[in-house]
């Protein structure tokens, strides 16, 4: 009952004209960003953070805007998967498998609306999951001392590469690089400058927003320049939407798939090291095992569209659980949302629920509202969003670059930060070529200082005894999970990755055989 009361309070906070219009704006922008190739949930939100920040929005309105963008982008990713067989973002990869064949059969409209409904079901159930699970996790987290937090941060880094990671050394490199960057600036505990090399601009440290926008948004511009990928993928194709509403029988048939996928996706989102892509992959594979009796999967089976979409949207909601309750994000986009919170001077974690209940419950209420708005936007107006696919990158990418500059310049008004951002953009491009994940870098710059101060506090309490870090059963357990999470992908990572890619290949190969 307590929960329902808090939720009602949350709705009271969220339902104001300003917040509702921000949610609507966020949903629209998010869906557009998700649909556009080259812009996904993480870089979409990344570009908008400095803007929300400089516009002087309060904590709750800013969060409402940005989480609406996040949810919207998760919806939008499916549009180009279905129409063009090109995933709009990574989690939407599995939606190509049955979505595109459905579109080829002239059922594009039905595939779009069905996946819209599946996205809705996934997010809706996951938001309930968030409400029920997060307070329980908070209870555990309240037992954490500094040593446990240090172990928890290590766990987050160790598992961030994910089960599908093929090169853990590169994930570790990225994490160390991010942490190393966070050390730049004046040490908060003793006041001595570190790694500044006498440069006054560096005394405040590197603003993580500069790093995020550079790494996520600008590096994308360089990728497009490298391939001179200037024309729209939709330019010379005829996109026919057809019937807009799915048949009732189709809905009934795929309803079970949506429920199963929501459960799986939510779990994948909550667990460290999984995330939305794996959520979609798991949901699709399990659904195929359960329902594919006549071999229709991969040839436009509606259940094959419903399952991964419900799965990846549920995972997006699930990923918010550790982010809000522990302050430790498990995926790229939630890392970006953590950046939002930190730049609004809100520290997520167990205390957030007791100190700023208005922020937490306002946010959760906003998730429900955004989800309904997205459902309404995505079914009747889906035709509008498909037009977005026609925007060629040669116009879009310069806009992305310039808006990034506007945002960062708005924060500091200094050319120095813009130069640092360009530097991060170049670094992001090179690291992406070398297959080094960018998310641990971001997480490192975000969490570095908190991680260090927890370590120092834990040891200082015990008068400089380093064994304080492994003194409690809870911290030993966390270290054990961290170790397992880091080692496991070395053993099974290649297998999972090849299966994920392999699944796509074989489906497409089969599809070729059929059409030939």
């Amino acid at each position: 009952m307590d929960t329902l009361n808090s939720l009602a309070d949350g709705f009271a906070i969220a339902i104001t004209w300003q917040n509702m219009s921000l949610a609507l704006l966020g949903c629209l922008l998010g869906t557009i960003m998700g649909a556009l190739p080259g812009l996904g949930p993480s870089n979409g939100v990344a570009i908008l953070i400095p803007l929300a920040f400089t516009l002087g929005l309060g904590a709750t309105p800013a969060l409402i805007l940005l989480t609406s963008v996040y949810y919207g982008a998760m919806y939008g990713g499916r549009i180009s998967s279905i129409l063009l067989n090109i995933p709009g973002d990574e989690p939407a990869m599995m939606t190509c498998l049955d979505g595109y064949p459905m579109a080829q059969k002239g059922m594009a409209g039905e595939a779009l609306s069905l996946s819209g409904i599946a996205s809705f079901v996934g997010s809706f159930l996951a938001t309930w999951g968030l409400i029920l699970l997060a307070p329980q996790l908070v209870k555990i987290a309240l037992l954490f001392g500094p040593a446990e937090y240090f172990a928890l941060f290590t766990l987050a880094f160790a598992t961030l590469g994910g089960v599908s990671s093929t090169n853990q050394a590169k994930s570790a490199f990225a994490a160390a690089l991010g942490l190393g960057l966070a050390m730049i600036g004046v040490d908060t505990q003793t006041g001595v400058p570190r790694m500044t090399f006498g440069e006054v601009h560096l005394y405040d440290g590197i603003d993580f927003l500069v790093a995020i926008v550079g790494l996520f948004a600008l590096s994308e511009v360089f990728i497009f320049l490298e391939h001179r990928h200037g024309e729209s993928d939709a330019a010379h194709r005829k996109i026919e939407i057809g019937r807009l509403w799915p048949r009732l029988s189709m809905l009934k048939q795929s309803f079970g798939a949506m429920l199963r996928a929501s459960g799986l996706g939510f779990l994948a989102g909550v667990l460290p090291g999984a995330g939305a892509s794996l959520g979609a992959f798991l949901s699709y594979s399990v659904e195929k095992k359960i329902s594919d009796r006549d071999g229709t999967f991969g040839k436009g089976d509606p259940r094959g569209v419903a399952a991964p979409e419900a799965g990846n949207n549920a995972a997006a909601g699930g990923a918010l659980v550790p982010m809000l309750a522990l302050g430790v994000p498990g995926s790229g986009t939630t890392a970006v949302l953590l950046a939002v919170l930190l730049s609004l001077n809100i520290t997520p974690g167990p205390l957030l629920f007791t100190r700023n209940p208005d922020v937490v419950w306002g946010l959760i209420a906003a998730l429900f509202i955004a989800n309904f708005m997205l459902l309404l936007l995505n079914i009747p107006m889906v035709g509008l969003f498909t037009r977005v696919l026609m925007v060629p990158p040669r116009i879009l990418m310069p806009v992305v670059a310039m808006v990034s500059f506007v945002g960062i310049y708005g924060i500091s008004g200094s050319s120095f930060d813009l130069l640092v951002m360009v530097g991060f953009g170049v670094m992001g491009w090179a690291l992406r070529k070398l297959d080094v994940p960018l998310v641990p870098i971001i997480l490192g710059t975000l969490l570095g200082n908190a991680m260090e101060s927890n370590m120092r506090r834990a040891i200082t309490i015990k008068d400089g005894d380093w064994s304080a870090l492994v003194a409690s059963p809870l911290s030993i357990a966390l270290w054990a999970i961290a170790l397992a999470g880091f080692v496991l992908p070395i053993v099974v990572g290649k297998l999972v990755k090849t299966r994920m890619i392999g699944a796509r290949r074989t489906e497409q190969a089969e599809e070729m055989d059929v059409t030939d």
Binding site: L179, V192, M195, I395, F405
Partner: protein, 143 residues
């Protein structure tokens, strides 16, 4: 080969980072751990990870040809110039040039690039400055 070079670069970076960490001045008012310990741990992780990358390289990534590489370097130069000249020229002029250049290099025709550049600049100015009231760089002409 790329990974080997990258790994060696990472090891050097780690060594440099460790030296920079050792050079941190200790304050006389310090906690039991001090400001050096955590950076040194980071340097160790960085070094080990880089060594692992160098010893067990991944398959070679597809690097762009020389022309494409020049393209990227040229774009970097333009963006650096943009960052430096933004407060001098003002938002509208600097942005029109930068976005015009980028769209041209992404395949717009020269004349179209001019139009797209100016249009991008003006619409960002209209939305973010006139509508939302964000402070943008002001040049000699006040915009």
């Amino acid at each position: 080969m790329s990974d080997r070079i990258f790994g060696i670069f990472g090891v050097l970076l780690a060594i440099g980072y460790a030296f920079a960490a050792l050079a941190i001045q200790e304050s006389f008012l310090s906690d039991a751990v001090g400001p050096k310990a955590f950076p040194l741990i980071i340097a160790a992780v960085l070094g080990l990870a880089s060594a692992a990358i160098a010893l067990r390289p991944d398959p070679e990534p597809v690097w762009p040809g020389l022309m494409r590489l020049v393209e990227i370097i040229a774009a970097i130069v333009v963006l650096v110039l943009y960052a430096e000249l933004l407060p001098v020229l003002g938002f509208i002029i600097a942005t029109a040039f930068a976005s015009g250049y980028l769209t041209w290099r992404l395949g717009s025709k020269p004349l179209a690039s001019v139009v797209i550049g100016v249009a991008t600049s003006l619409s960002i100015y209209a939305i973010f400055h006139l509508l939302l009231g964000l402070a943008l760089a002001t040049g000699p002409f006040g915009f």
